[in-house]
């Protein structure tokens, strides 16, 4: 922290970030008629309190998680357990709600802090087994906290956007080094090793997904078999050695102050793209350009889906189990979700607004040739959009 400016190593004013976020959360609670939140999912706890979310396995994250309690009528959130030092919270001793002892401690804090409220006024994002056993908060009758978090987080503050942008740029910088290592005979573990080392050297120790460098099949019939009949990605399995000509789909995500990046590119192992492969990229670029041309406040998700399909000869250029685009923030994929199996009516009803983040991840596939996939992270502005990354190159493909 720089005491002169109050900003952290990434230039983020963390105090303002937290204060504005909490204000949004409490405003959303009031708008939805929710008097209090009980939050157990670590990104939610981090959003409400600033509590750090480390990049641990779920088994450890569960046993280290504190619980946040937010009342709409109180200025400061409560933190049960965890590490409250440096946070503007009412700290309660406690331990994880993944132990019976921790769940009992939580129950007594809840009685003290929320005892005047009825269950329907309290929204909860999830119960652990021990919380279900303790019966507090009650499962029956409690409200669902996810609509509150969803509405509060969907449009980002300037500081939140700065966190995402910082994460994206560091992620991209690390990938510059990784990209030079792809060659026949190298393995996925070699590339992942370099990525994980480089992000740490650049000051980030939170790789939130096992970095993906997946050699892709050329035809869907090459498998794996999928429930959608389309391409399987990302499987995150095995340690393949690359062969010359492999199309490698790359995907990774790190966080800065709990905000995620999302890096996606397609690399070619050991040679330049063939003419047919370059055509995949050209079409992918055309899809991106068409969607970005349409992207501005007031446009619907449906409009963006139609623009993408029109640029791809009428076919939807994305994986059917995912989306044309997703939001990003405290989760690596969050609202807005654009082009999912929620359906066209959902997409047509969803209106983009300033401050929303859109990660475009179209896929252009030609069976027998293969596919091109990459991701573009942009924020909706008052009159259009702006990129949150650093314009990372598409090598070895040529932008024409």
């Amino acid at each position: 922290m720089d005491p002169a400016t109050g900003t952290d190593a990434h230039g983020i004013d963390v105090g303002r970030l937290r204060a504005e976020r909490l204000q949004r959360l409490r405003g959303t609670m009031a708008a939805q008629g929710i008097a209090a939140l009980v939050l157990t999912h670590a990104p939610h706890v981090g959003y409400a309190t600033g509590h750090r979310v480390p990049a641990s396995d779920g088994s450890v994250a569960n046993f280290q998680r504190p619980v946040a309690i937010v009342r709409a009528d109180e200025d400061r959130p409560h933190l049960v357990g965890g590490e409250p030092d440096g946070l503007d919270v009412v700290a309660h001793p406690g331990s994880t709600p993944d132990h019976d002892e921790g769940a009992r401690a939580l129950a007594s804090v809840l009685e003290e802090v929320l005892g005047d409220l009825s269950p329907g006024q309290v929204a909860v994002d999830g119960w652990t087994g021990p919380m279900l056993r303790s019966g507090t908060p009650p499962l029956a009758g409690s409200a669902d906290a996810r609509p509150v978090l969803g509405a509060a987080t969907i449009s980002k503050t300037a500081d939140e956007l700065a966190c995402i942008s910082a994460a994206q740029r560091i992620n991209e910088e690390a990938m510059l080094d990784v990209g030079t290592e792809l060659a026949p005979g190298t393995r996925r573990s070699d590339l992942a090793a370099t990525f994980l080392r480089r992000t740490r050297e650049l000051g980030v120790d939170t790789s939130m997904i096992d970095p993906i460098f997946q050699p892709m099949p050329r035809a869907i019939s090459d498998g794996p078999r999928t429930t959608t009949g389309d391409v399987a990605f990302p499987t995150g399995l095995g340690d393949p050695a690359y062969r010359e000509g492999d199309l490698v789909w790359v995907d990774s995500g790190i966080t800065v102050n709990g905000y995620a990046s999302d890096f996606g590119r397609t690399w070619v192992c050991g040679r330049d793209p063939s003419a047919a492969e370059q055509e995949l990229f050209d079409r992918w670029r055309a899809v991106i350009d068409a969607v970005l041309d349409a992207l501005r406040p007031g446009v619907t998700s449906g409009d963006l889906c139609r623009a993408a399909a029109a640029a791809n000869g009428g076919e939807r250029p994305w994986l059917p189990h995912f989306y044309l685009a997703h939001g990003i923030g405290i989760e690596s994929a969050e609202m807005p979700l654009i082009g999912t199996d929620l359906g066209e009516a959902f997409d047509d009803a969803f209106v983009l607004a300033p401050g929303m983040v859109v990660v475009l991840e179209p896929v252009v596939w030609m069976d027998g040739v293969g596919g091109y996939r990459a991701e573009e992270v942009v924020a909706v502005t008052d009159d259009g959009w702006r990129a949150l990354g650093g314009e990372h190159p598409y090598d070895p493909f040529v932008v024409r």
Partner: protein
């Protein structure tokens, strides 16, 4: 041919379900999902909101798993038992409703809940009594099959490779040493951390504590490099040697803290009660700024998974 590990585990889950009179288990915790189904999917960090990820039906003995593809799913789980990633609660509801044995379940076990999933259960299995089953899974997972111990031993070897790389890199700033460790562990076989890699230099010694997953199973090692004036390594060695069946977990002594928890598909719960043969424990011995950690198999002659007696400072 020996029984595949995922079948051994599934049989143990089915047997536990019979013992608890559970008709169906709906699991969301990643480690429980791997245990019951053998399905491995992309590793992601942190807590996950509860969602139905693996359904075990006692009557049919079948496991049904959330996966859009068949890679990473054991061969004996039919393709028809996969339900794909969806963003649509109605699609998820329809997929679950199609699972034989779910709608007429009398007793349905869960390892976590959300308000949204409660609504789904009330619709899909209207008559079912909800049973909190996280302890049933924890009990099933507590003692390890030989194949599980083998995977944990492999994971310990990966962590040890990370430690060796740190030893070779010192002296260097702590953050740089941690970067060296994750690089070395990735090349040695795992890019999936258990917790954050710890490298902390203070008072002339460097504490290193590393943990990684191999096929979901935890391995780890903690060492203090650069001297052990208090002889804490001896206390640690004694703590490991005390992990015998029928005894209580080794406790703390004067000036020395010994922490013991279960280890398996990642971190497991602190150990309560007496030890059983076949448990694997993560034993951490701390004195001041010094720290040692090993995974040890509980047996009449307790066996540190890294083997040998090499808990001295210089690894």
């Amino acid at each position: 041919m020996s029984t595949p590990l995922h079948v051994e585990r599934r049989d143990r889950v089915l047997s536990a379900m019979a013992g608890a009179d559970l008709d169906v288990l709906v699991l969301g915790e990643q480690a429980n999902v791997v245990y019951a189904s053998g399905h491995h999917r992309l590793w992601t960090a942190g807590t996950r909101p509860h969602a139905p990820t693996c359904i075990v039906v006692r009557r049919t003995g079948a496991t049904h798993v959330l996966s859009t593809w068949d890679e990473g799913v054991p061969d004996d789980v039919p393709f028809e038992h996969l339900f794909g990633i969806t963003w649509n609660p109605e699609v998820m509801g329809a997929a679950l409703a199609a699972i034989p044995g779910l709608s007429d379940a009398r007793r349905l076990g869960v390892d976590g809940m959300t308000a949204g999933f409660l609504r789904a259960v009330e619709r899909l299995a209207a008559g079912a009594e909800l049973v909190v089953a996280d302890e049933l899974l924890a009990d099933a997972r507590r003692t390890k099959f030989a194949a599980e111990v083998d995977l944990m031993r492999a994971a310990c070897g990966v962590a040890a490779a990370g430690l060796d790389a740190v030893v070779a890199a010192l002296p260097t700033p702590d953050a740089a040493a941690a970067a060296v460790a994750v690089d070395a562990m990735a090349r040695a076989g795992s890019t999936k951390p258990v917790g954050e890699p710890l490298v902390r230099t203070a008072d002339g010694s460097t504490v290193v504590d590393l943990g990684v997953l191999v096929e979901g199973y935890e391995g780890g090692i903690g060492r203090t490099l650069g001297g052990d004036p208090e002889g804490t390594a001896d206390v640690h060695r004694q703590a490991l040697a005390a992990c015998r069946p029928g005894t209580v977990a080794p406790g703390s002594g004067s000036g020395v803290t010994v922490e013991v928890r279960g280890a398996g598909l990642g971190a497991e719960r602190p150990v309560v009660g007496t030890l059983e043969a076949g448990m694997v424990l993560s034993v951490t011995t701390t004195a001041g700024s010094h720290r040692w950690r090993d995974l040890v198999l509980v047996a009449d002659e307790p066996r540190p998974l890294l083997g040998g007696d090499d808990v001295d400072g210089e690894g």
